[in-house]
Amino acid sequence: MKNRTKLCLNIFALLLLMGVLFLFARYGSDYQIRILTNMAIFITLAVSFNLVNGMCGILHLGPNAFIAIGAYTSALLAMSPAEKQINFIIDQLVWPLSVIQTPFSVSLIAGGLMAALFAFIISFPVFRVRGDYLAIVTFGFGEVVRVLCNAAQGLTNGSLGLKGLVPHTTLWWSWGVAIVTVILLAHFADSTHGRAIKAIREDERAARAMGIDPFRHLLLAFMLSAFFCGLGGGLLAHLITAISPTLFTFMLTFNLLIMIVVGGLGSTTGAIIGAVLFTWGSEALRIVERPWDLGLFTVPGIPGMRMVVFSVILMVVIIFASKGITGRAEFSWDFVMRLRRDRRRPDPQ
């Protein structure tokens, strides 16, 4: 298929998505809009998490740190000085942060940059090791950031968290960021840089023998991933409007892992599908947490039952479809066209 046709189809699909979003924004209930906004944030997070875990093939367990840094940075920059005064009752907020206020867009970018900076700093110890050891190191950094958020009273307001953020994150903000993230990261994955990091995933020794410096490329992917996770964190903060360290526990990382593993590790398409299914699923599965009336007796609702269901789904996927929904395949218009053609022209046998 010609590149021109593909471009037209891409633009058409984007307009269609915009149309659907517009209809929801116009006629949908608050509940539906809220789920859609959440969905887009998780698409951003899952796609950028997948860049490291799926494409580079390293088990990184600390995206919650990046998200937390993005969320706190963006929240502290976007809050008004007066609001900060109300929030910080135990300790005063440190000086430059207590007076500055930036527009929402600037605070988002700053959140992303801070997360990328943090990724750069921790990359030196992280990339000295591989495999399980790397997982443990990144997991550790994830926890360290959460603990620091709890302890740095003058910076993050400790366990009290930040409250009363302006709900800047609209349906359009979250989907806009998600679409830009997906386009940029998909382009990155489908380029010479993307091939280089996939080569490292396949065989690091062979990649080095082909002139690829593993550290530089892993660092680049790690920082890009952190940047977009930071953006997602900023959006999340301004959607929930109240953040505290408990929001950024390992649970968040675990949820993202479910999304990209179920969707298909190493595939951007898979990460999107995983994020959509997860956000929709966690709402649809609310019924399992409600008390069940079985006629004779009532089973009381068990909070947290959804996570049990998700864990079971994850285990089933790992056992029976270890490559997830899409495997490492990506969506392409050629594939769609082939499907159509196959249907039109039945098998000659």
Partner: protein, 259 residues
């Protein structure tokens, strides 16, 4: 004649084990040299040292009179030394074409933001490396399989793909680690033609390890023999086949065989 590559008095010790002892070799431009020796003689260690995967304990390695002894592997490759591996190490989950395109990565100039924004510079470069990669595949006769997953290729073709991938680095010295391992006589003959063709066409030096004596004797112009980390002989194939030290290394001495 100036040396393209030189390794002088290199010793490699892993703990108490001396894998390579005072080993020296010089390679000239356009030469086809073989490295043979019994199992465990240290042949692959020589390759790993040449390509920067192992740092020598003692000794010096020079490339066009520049010291490259402590250069990391990816920088050695960028200088112009490419290699294949004894146990095939292709990128199994990438297509055949992508496997070769990876090798051109070090020569690209477009930055990651070029890739993310699909700038004209990046597009031109992608097109260039795709065409060049296709040409590499044509050379080894794999162009018709370019969009197959590399892991699905049969063994002999995976070996060829490894050679194509190494060629794509545009090396001046190509190191082949047992290229004919596991091939049938037909494939081996074909490979022999391919390797000679590559040398003649690109004018590069080729240094190879091989166990198939017929293959090595027929192909190489100069042969070096290694045993227990020591270099025991060097010369043209005819000399090597008559060398008593070599025969002893491979077959054992007459005295030991009798007792």
């Amino acid at each position: 004649m100036t040396n393209l590559f030189e390794m002088s008095h290199v010793t490699i010790q892993f703990g108490g084990l001396t894998a390579l002892n005072d080993f020296s070799i010089a390679l000239h431009p356009g030469e086809l040299v073989g490295l043979i020796g019994p199992n465990g003689a240290g042949k692959t260690t020589v390759f790993n040292t040449m390509t920067g995967f192992i740092e020598p304990t003692r000794g010096e390695i020079t490339w066009k009179d520049v010291n490259i002894t402590r250069l990391p592997a990816h920088k050695v490759t960028a200088k112009g030394i490419a290699r294949t591996f004894q146990n095939i190490r292709i990128f199994t989950d990438m297509t055949v074409l992508e496997n070769v395109m990876v090798s051109y990565h070090y020569s690209t100039t477009s930055r990651f933001w070029d890739a993310m924004l699909r700038t004209p510079r990046h597009r031109r470069e992608e097109e260039r490396i795709m065409l060049q990669s296709m040409r590499c595949l044509e050379e080894v006769g794999l162009d018709h399989l370019s969009s197959e997953k590399a892991g699905t290729l049969p063994y002999g073709q995976q070996r060829k793909l490894e050679i194509a991938r190494a060629l794509a680095v545009q090396p001046e010295l190509l190191l082949l680690d047992e290229p004919a391992a596991g091939m049938n006589p037909m494939e081996t003959m074909e490979l022999s033609h391919l390797i000679r063709g590559i040398r003649d066409e690109h004018g590069i030096s080729i240094f190879l390890i091989e166990h198939d004596m017929k293959f090595v004797m027929g192909l190489c112009e100069r042969i070096k023999v290694l045993n227990y980390g020591h270099s025991i002989a060097e010369g043209v194939p005819a000399e090597i086949t008559r060398n008593s030290a070599v025969i002893k290394a491979y077959l054992g001495s007459a005295g030991r065989a009798a007792s």
